[in-house]
Amino acid sequence: MNEELIVSGRSNPFIDPSLNIWHWQIPLYLFLGGLAAGILFFASLYTILGREEQCPTAVRKAPLVVPVLLVLGLFALFLDLKHKPYFWQLYTTIKLQSPMSWGAWVLMAVTPLSFIWAALNIKEIFPSWDWKFSWLINFEKICRKNILPLSWMIIVLSVILGVYTGILFSAFNARPLWNTSILGPLFLTSGLSTGAAAILLISKSSAERKLFAKIDVLLICIELFLIVHMFMGFLASTQVQIDAAELFLGGPYTAPFWVFVVALGLVVPLILEILELKKIHVPAVVPAILVLFGGIMLRFIIAFAGQSSRWLY
């Protein structure tokens, strides 16, 4: 027998009986941030490749939702803070060891750029839009002239944004489930995949849909590989990481993870997209919505399961 009890009766809110400091706000933000990163990545990628005409949704239409996603995500982050009036302290320092610090700065850079990109394409929804002020019209002209440097900036920032959502978790050695460097690439791939799914959902051109179905198939395969790789790493690691993996291999998160994330979020849309590419008609909304659903479930499950994984002593 080895029984360990806190006999002085500790019950600190959010800490006891087990850590529950982060609720729906953080995983929701991670999903929105990843999705925004994915859409921005494809928008800038196809601008750099000079294929705006073949991918009108990816380059012009889909990025219109990005500012909304980022603002909602930032608002969720703000709601999570417990000392709200002091949030500006984030922007008084840059701490490279703290992913949250440089993540906040990346958001500070990427959010205005996403607004600029959306503004450049505002005529997609409001064809008769007029900027009215001459300086705004001039600003638009300057941006259009420098669309390539702008795209390069956005593509780099979007990759950092996508990776950071995973690195944020992997920096916590105290939570063995999060403490794996696979989480950065996994969240980035998932973000790109949800971005591709969002483009699939909006796109009306069949050539573009085919392209993004192909991209999504590749991304889902990479994601499945990373998940298998993550569990191999856990099971070959120390006892605390074996215990963390057990949360998904018989523990309380087994059913939600394998059913919602792996089966419904990855395997089913993978099969449907392959069928679609094989010319068997599948409504494009079904795999796209499943991928988005899988992306949101992945963040929620990793965020909550991670908080229940710990070092035992």
Binding site: M1, N2, E3, E4, L5, I6, V7, S8, G9, R10, S11, N12, P13, F14, I15, D16, L19, I21, W22, D80, L81, K82, H83, K84, Y86, F87, Q89, L90, T92, T93, K95, Q97, S98, P99, M100, S101, A104, A171, F172, N173, A174, R175, T238, Q307, R310, W311, Y313
Partner: protein, 177 residues
């Protein structure tokens, strides 16, 4: 200067006087605690063994909480004591998630709070409240760099352990075994 504390698990009776002293001295809000007492029962009856530990922030030398704090609110103060500046803290909870000892909590005021080794008392030449009040005198506090300090002397004489050394935090809370 490196402040550290040692707790004698053979002398501690688990009375929780240290916990109450801490709450009173530091005006800890009701329902919260900066320190706590752990009782570990091991073995099979009748060969049972009990270990009692008075635990708190380990004031780690390689603190994950200081590393992950995005604003620098969590910092190393005099003698390596890990403190939080309430007016720099945004209450994001990163340090709370990063602590393998679960030693931090969000204060009802919004900022994160934790054991300070009673730095206000140390600066006045006194012992931390928990050490001063202990009825079995099972706690030792002092500067590890001073070979004559209470904690250095006892760590030379006795066998000791730290909690979760494999987490790489280099804790400064020692348990005499």
């Amino acid at each position: 200067m490196r402040y550290a504390m040692a707790v004698d698990t053979k002398k501690c009776v688990g009375c929780s006087d240290c916990v109450v002293a801490c709450q009173t001295e530091n005006n800890v809000p009701i329902g919260y605690c900066r320190e706590w007492v752990v009782e570990v029962m091991s073995g099979t009856y009748p060969q049972l063994e009990i270990e009692i530990r008075s635990e708190r922030c380990n004031h780690c030398e390689n603190s994950p909480c200081v590393r992950c704090c995005p604003t620098g609110a969590s910092h190393y103060s005099n003698g390596g004591i890990v403190l939080v500046k309430p007016d720099k803290c945004i209450g994001c909870g990163a340090c709370i998630a990063s602590c393998p000892y679960d030693a931090r909590y969000p204060h009802p005021g919004g900022y994160v709070d934790k054991c300070t080794f009673c730095i206000h008392r140390i600066l006045d030449g006194m012992q931390p409240a928990c050490v001063a009040v202990c009825p079995t005198k099972c706690m030792y506090f002092g500067d590890l760099d001073d070979p004559a300090s209470d904690v250095s002397v006892i760590l030379k004489k006795r066998k000791y352990k730290t909690l979760i050394p494999e987490a790489g935090t280099k804790p400064h809370l020692y348990f005499l075994i």
